[in-house]
Amino acid sequence: MNISNKKIILHDMCLRDGMHAKRHQISLTEMTQVATALDDAGVPLIEVTHGDGLGGNSVNYGFAAHSDEEYLSTVIPLMKQAKISALLLPGIGTIDHLRMAHELGVSTIRVAAQCTEADVTEQHIALSRTLGLDTVGFLMMAHMLEPKALLEQAKLMESYGANCIYCTDSAGYMLQDDVFQRITALRQGLKPETQIGFHGHHNLALGVANSLTAVEAGADRIDGSAAGLGAGAGNTPLEVFNAVATRMGATTDVDIFKLMAVAEEIVVPMMEQPIRVDRDSLVLGYAGVYSSFLLHAKRAAKKYGVRSEEILLKLGQMKTVGGQEDMIEDVALNLANNQK
């Protein structure tokens, strides 16, 4: 693999995807500590939002310790060089949330949709572009579409105004070939000026390898999080990816040792549980299940006396997609009834 001389934009997920792993309870102090340390390490983009995006506060996904407004308005003024992004899932958040994030000074809006449903993002992508924001189309559960079909959805987002398209492995299901084919299809089919991104989950311990493959196939942006703090077995551990990519001759402009320190000294002590490939997260990656279902399934398993990996397998069989957290308790209730 040759990625030497490639320029990679790193995007940290600790304070958004990491919200899942922290039951959305990250404090303003923790937000400030992590964001300022990432800024100091040279990370150019940091996402700050409820785990399920703007407007994600709900019974279904969990109420965060603070509102998106509080998080964004706390972090943004402290940044010296880093830009702050916010995630928005149409169907959960609306353009009202988008305007709020814009007014608070985010540089980037990432409009996320199930990879087959790009046409729900038109209003949001178009507004974000009109507001002059760096506008990303974020195609989730991208393993569920073949490369050619994924490209068609990506082209829709590009036509609405997205200047960057992500192939998002929400289930941490993709193997390296899967990533290579999809990123290659996007690179060949989208406009040359449209950037490509890859967002991995570490459920099969392939976060770093898949991200390197994405870069080799033409990805410009790589998502990860310091110490991997994220849903499922976490995101691509960013300090590891940064070290490996740098050794391979790519450029990230992120300080290797400072990023290691953020992971080791700030993020790991924040973790409520080890972020690792345990049986449940391995099931996510093996069966292609949305990574943020993990802690919800563990809680439902405990409440109803059923096995969490059975809940997750069933959700995989049902072909659930991101957002269907309500089905976790429903499945647990059915499993519990069957046990009687």
């Binding site: 169907g91 449903e117 046409d119 729900v120 049902m318 997609v321 308790e329 429903d330």
Partner: protein, 310 residues
């Protein structure tokens, strides 16, 4: 008994309009005369012609030329929230009563099992706008449950998650996704009785397509009275089943502290789209029931013009 059917027009020849047409053709009080679309090749328009309706692809303006001659008294608008305002204005100018199946929410919300009777009793309410809004498919499926809970005790927060098969979501629904969440959340408060409302919609592309699923989460102000809430929810489900036979309780009510959760599934009748598209049926069946009640009031009560003449 009504011996004369009321002539109606259907605007929007997409999934919802076409499904509604098929149902309206079975009605004993409504007579579908016109189907209005904008796409000559749309399946809905072809089907309308084959079923004996007058059909046009020239949009609402063409219909306006025929209102008096065909004595159209009620129009159902199943286009999109963006064009409903203009459609409504044009129809009102001709004295047509409008049932709005988009989330535009110009007129008062109507959830038949909760407030249709009271809306009909307040005739001034109807005539004030001559427009009733059917909220959203997710709202029709969930607000009855929230109302059933808030009839027992105060609900501080009501949240719904509606999951529909991708195949059942037409372009109107997709362009209207923000309006769906806003309108549903607002109706959760105004009709459901929750102090704060929140709505989430998810589209799922699974094949074969999944049945519409709806989950209701309420946070009650005080400890929930489990027995009374369960009884109220079960009674409400029976009421909805009167016009949507495929409306089903899957799990719950589940109680967890002050949280009350109810898990529902909505199977359609398979009139236009297959039965997985319960989201179509719950909308069209609710609109049809509303139209039939309106038709009854038109035939049994003196009309406004009668009143002004006396």
């Amino acid at each position: 008994m009504v011996d004369k059917k009321i002539n109606i027009a259907l605007i929007g020849s997409g999934n919802i309009g076409t499904d509604l047409m098929i149902k309206a053709l079975r009605s004993s009080t409504l007579n579908p005369v016109w189907m209005v679309g904008i796409d000559e090749c749309s399946d809905g328009l072809k089907r309308a012609k084959s079923l004996g309706l007058k059909a046009t692809h020239l949009g609402i303006d063409e219909l306006l030329n025929h209102i008096e001659a065909d004595n159209i008294q009620i129009a159902f608008d199943a286009t999109s929230a963006y064009v409903h305002g203009e459609n409504n204005r044009k129809l009102q100018s001709k004295g047509v009563k409008v049932i709005d199946l988009t989330p535009a929410a110009i007129g008062p919300y109507c959830i038949p099992s909760v407030n249709l009777e009271s809306l009909m009793a307040q005739t001034e309410h109807v005539s004030e706008t001559n427009n009733l809004n059917m909220v959203t498919c997710g709202g029709q499926a969930t607000i009855p449950i929230i109302a059933a809970i808030s009839q027992i005790q105060d609900v501080d927060y009501g949240e719904i998650v509606a999951t529909i098969a991708s195949k059942s979501a037409g372009p109107g629904t997709r362009k209207n996704i923000d309006e769906f969440t806003r309108t549903t959340a607002d109706a959760i408060e105004k009709i459901g009785g929750a102090t704060q409302g929140k709505a989430i919609i998810v589209m799922n592309p699974a094949e074969p397509p999944l049945m519409m699923r709806d989950t209701v989460h309420c946070l009650t102000r005080d400890e929930p009275d489990q027995k009374a809430i369960t009884a109220s929810v079960l009674t409400m489900i029976e009421q909805v089943q009167q016009y949507v036979p495929g409306y089903q309780l899957k799990n719950g009510p589940v109680f967890d502290g002050k949280r009350v959760s109810v898990f529902l599934e909505v199977a359609g009748l398979g009139d236009y789209l297959p039965e997985y598209a319960g989201n179509l049926d719950i909308m069209t069946s609710a609109a049809l029931r509303t139209g039939e009640m309106l038709a009854q009031s038109l035939t049994t009560k003196p009309t406004e013009s009668d009143v002004t003449r006396t």
